[in-house]
């Protein structure tokens, strides 16, 4: 028993943090929302080189082996820096393809996904696939029992999200039928679990970014002659946000260690709720300036709610926890 990151894991997190802090991810996210993917792809290349996308790919497919804990560290960093793109979905697609036990699609895609050379997306249970216009592989699991895996050729028109950086598509199951059979359903289940885990970690990062930016703001913003951050009403609200985030993180790490569906559901609920609580506090404590599109804060404010629901709504996760799903 040693529920602590080891030196290597802490170093990995620090490396990613430094890389992303230097990369102006917010500008890349703004461009991404406008349909200009170039800065986002450049950013993507950089953190792929740090090994992020190899973390969900087995050794034999040129990945780093399966390292879910490191993956949560990476996704917390991606969330903290508002990195655009189908990162969760690329991980999910990797897990799905690797889980097929069928060499051909895995060989065709996994090395490219692991290296960051290709982006993938996967249609979720809600029917939407993130960033299908820019993804090199758009995957859809379909059929009555979820036993068909399609490589979609035409994602269809974009559907607007509350977060303009998240570009939603609702692709139909058509194109190439990559695989069919119960192994597809099993691999898709595993892919959804990893997607939920990565989303939980990303939400944690989003919540932390909102908290950090709000703390910085209330230390600067003065009213009645003092920093508004000296008021207890402000301090206590932010203290509660920190409590929620700090108690969500160990759930995320434990879920990464076990990959147990109930553990993942707990992590997903706690981090999604904590991120949303952080967003509400951030909006309220920034006041009117926080309610603007132009403030950079909006990049995180608009992401908290979608991440809370993506890859496992709180209701579905709680149902799993009490054994009702």
């Amino acid at each position: 028993m040693r529920f602590l990151l080891d030196a290597e894991q802490r170093e990995f997190a620090r490396t990613l943090e430094a890389l992303l802090a230097a990369a102006d991810a917010p500008s890349a996210a703004r461009a991404w929302a406008r349909g200009d993917h170039a800065p986002g792809r450049a950013l993507w290349d950089r953190f792929a080189k740090a090994g992020v996308f190899a973390l969900a790919v087995p050794d034999e497919s040129e990945g780093a082996g399966r390292l879910p804990l490191e993956l949560t560290l990476a996704f917390e960093a991606l969330g903290r820096h508002a990195v655009p793109g189908p990162a969760v979905e690329t991980v999910a697609a990797s897990v799905l393809l690797a889980g097929l036990g069928d060499a051909a699609p895995a060989q065709a895609w996994l090395p490219r996904l692991a290296s960051g050379g290709a982006l993938a997306t996967l249609r979720g249970d809600g029917g939407y696939a993130l960033d299908a216009d820019v993804a090199d592989a758009v995957l859809v699991v379909a059929g009555d029992t979820g036993e068909e895996l399609w490589l979609v050729d035409e994602p269809g028109p974009a559907v607007p999200s509350h977060d303009p950086v998240r570009r939603l598509f609702a692709p139909a199951a058509r194109g190439d039928l990559l695989a069919r059979g119960p192994h597809v359903a099993a691999a898709a289940g595993e892919a959804r679990a990893w997607a939920a885990l990565a989303t939980a970690a990303q939400a944690l990062g989003v919540g932390r970014a909102l908290l950090d930016r709000t703390v910085a703001y209330v230390r600067e913003r003065r009213q009645f002659g003092v920093a508004v951050g000296s008021f207890q009403a402000v301090k206590h609200r932010l203290a509660d946000v920190l409590v929620a985030l700090e108690f969500a993180r160990p759930l995320v790490h434990a879920a990464a260690l076990s990959l147990d569906p109930v553990d993942i559901a707990m992590a997903k609920v706690a981090s999604g709720e904590a991120a949303c609580a952080s967003a509400r506090a951030a909006l309220q404590l920034h006041g009117a300036i926080g309610y603007t599109d132009e403030l950079e804060l909006s990049l995180w404010l608009r992401k908290a709610r979608p991440l809370r629901d993506a890859w496992g709504t709180p209701a579905s996760c709680r149902a799993r926890i009490v054994g009702a799903s």
Partner: protein, 379 residues
């Protein structure tokens, strides 16, 4: 990162579980906040101590087993999973003992700890005063130097367990008039039956005398019952507050057991969909608290210190405990009103959680100022 216990720890768990299975009374004793219940819980402490289960984390010479904090957590998980009685010695074990380990003399440890471990001497805390609650450092009860010791005078209040306890520990002003209020305080232990002590039990919200007022009129305390140096009381009392105590004030095992009981109640009450989410949240919270504590214990075992994070702990468990009990009452429906129900006393007790051991408002100030770096001020 690893959440599995080693074989030795699992063997320790098995040993604890087996002992508890053989010894935990099949029906719980009366409330420890009643005279007969207090006596029953005292007897239970003796039974625990007879087989060295009352203070497993203490060194062996004082009645413990010298186990590390991770095994203490494992013991607590088994203890509450077995439905064992509440700990009437809690205040002594979790507040006074760590202070004696850090600041006491060997003579004090040898004299005070073994009877505490056996439940022969039950300790009450004597921190608050009528005019000094959250602002504890403003306290006015005095310790005046006399031959061979000190004379204590003043009034303490909200003294948990004092209605039936034997001795108490607290802070007293020994050097009045210094620049800052937390200077000139002395940490003392005293006998609740000494001449000059009047104990007036106070009924808690449910009427049970869970705490008391203490009136002290020139109560003699020998020098040997000063903990740490005279005048250093504030530092002595606070130094362990953020250390192990922050981790061990409320064990995760207790909430894991409560959450399991809650889920079982929900099951037996027909799995009401309307309450399913709150039952799920109780399970999530218990697990989160366990994991947060394991993380803190791992940091502690690796040589780290637990500082202001213990305030995160306090806010979390105290709010969590109320939410859990409110859900239980909602599941009970009309029977929730019954004061003799299985969740009744736990609910009443949970309501005090955000108030004692440093109100949650004080904890949130600490979180905001020390962990988030927000400016001081209480406007």
């Amino acid at each position: 990162m690893d959440l599995t216990h080693d074989a030795e720890t699992e063997a320790f768990r098995d040993e604890a579980r087996a002992w508890l299975a053989a010894h935990v009374p099949p029906t719980p004793p009366p409330s420890l906040e009643t005279r007969e219940g207090f006596a029953a819980h005292r007897a239970w402490e003796a039974e625990l101590a007879a087989d060295r289960w009352s203070v497993v984390s203490w060194p062996e010479p004082y009645g413990g087993r010298g186990v590390d904090i991770l095994r203490w957590l494992v013991f607590e998980e088994e203890y509450y999973a077995a439905g064992a009685p509440g700990r009437v010695s809690q205040n002594g074990i979790s507040l006074l003992a760590p202070t004696l380990f850090d600041h006491g003399t060997e003579e004090q440890r040898a004299r005070v700890l073994p009877p505490m471990a056996r439940g022969e001497v039950i300790w009450a805390q004597a921190w608050s005063e009528p005019a000094s609650g959250s602002d504890l450092a403003s306290l006015r009860s005095r310790a005046v130097r006399t031959d061979g010791g000190w004379l204590l005078s003043g009034q303490k209040t909200w003294s948990s367990r004092a209605a039936f306890a034997d001795r108490a520990f607290g802070l007293f002003r020994s050097e009045p008039g210094l620049d800052r209020p937390h200077l000139g305080l002395t940490y003392l232990m005293f006998d609740l039956r000494a001449p000059g002590v009047t104990v007036r039990p106070i009924g808690r919200l449910d009427g049970k005398p869970a705490f008391a007022e203490l009136f002290l009129d020139e109560v003699f305390v020998p020098d040997e019952d000063v903990v740490g140096a005279p005048g250093e009381g504030w530092r002595v009392a606070m130094s362990t507050a953020g250390n192990e105590r922050g981790l061990t004030l409320r064990s995760p095992g207790r909430f894991l057991a409560s959450a399991c009981r809650l889920a079982a109640l929900w099951d037996s009450a027909g799995r009401d969909r309307a309450l399913a989410d709150r039952v799920a949240d109780a399970l999530i919270g218990a697990r989160a608290y366990q994991l947060f504590t394991y993380a803190g214990a791992s940091r502690f075992a690796a040589g780290g210190v637990i500082g202001a994070e213990s305030s995160l702990n306090k806010v979390f468990w105290s709010e969590y405990d109320i939410a859990l009990h409110e859900t239980a009452l909602d599941l009970l429906g009309p029977d929730a009103e019954r004061a003799d129900g299985p969740w009744a006393e736990g609910w009443v007790f949970s309501l005090a959680g955000p108030i004692y051991a440093g109100t949650n408002e004080i904890q949130r100030d600490i979180i905001a100022e020390r962990l988030l770096g927000l400016p001081k001020g209480r406007r």
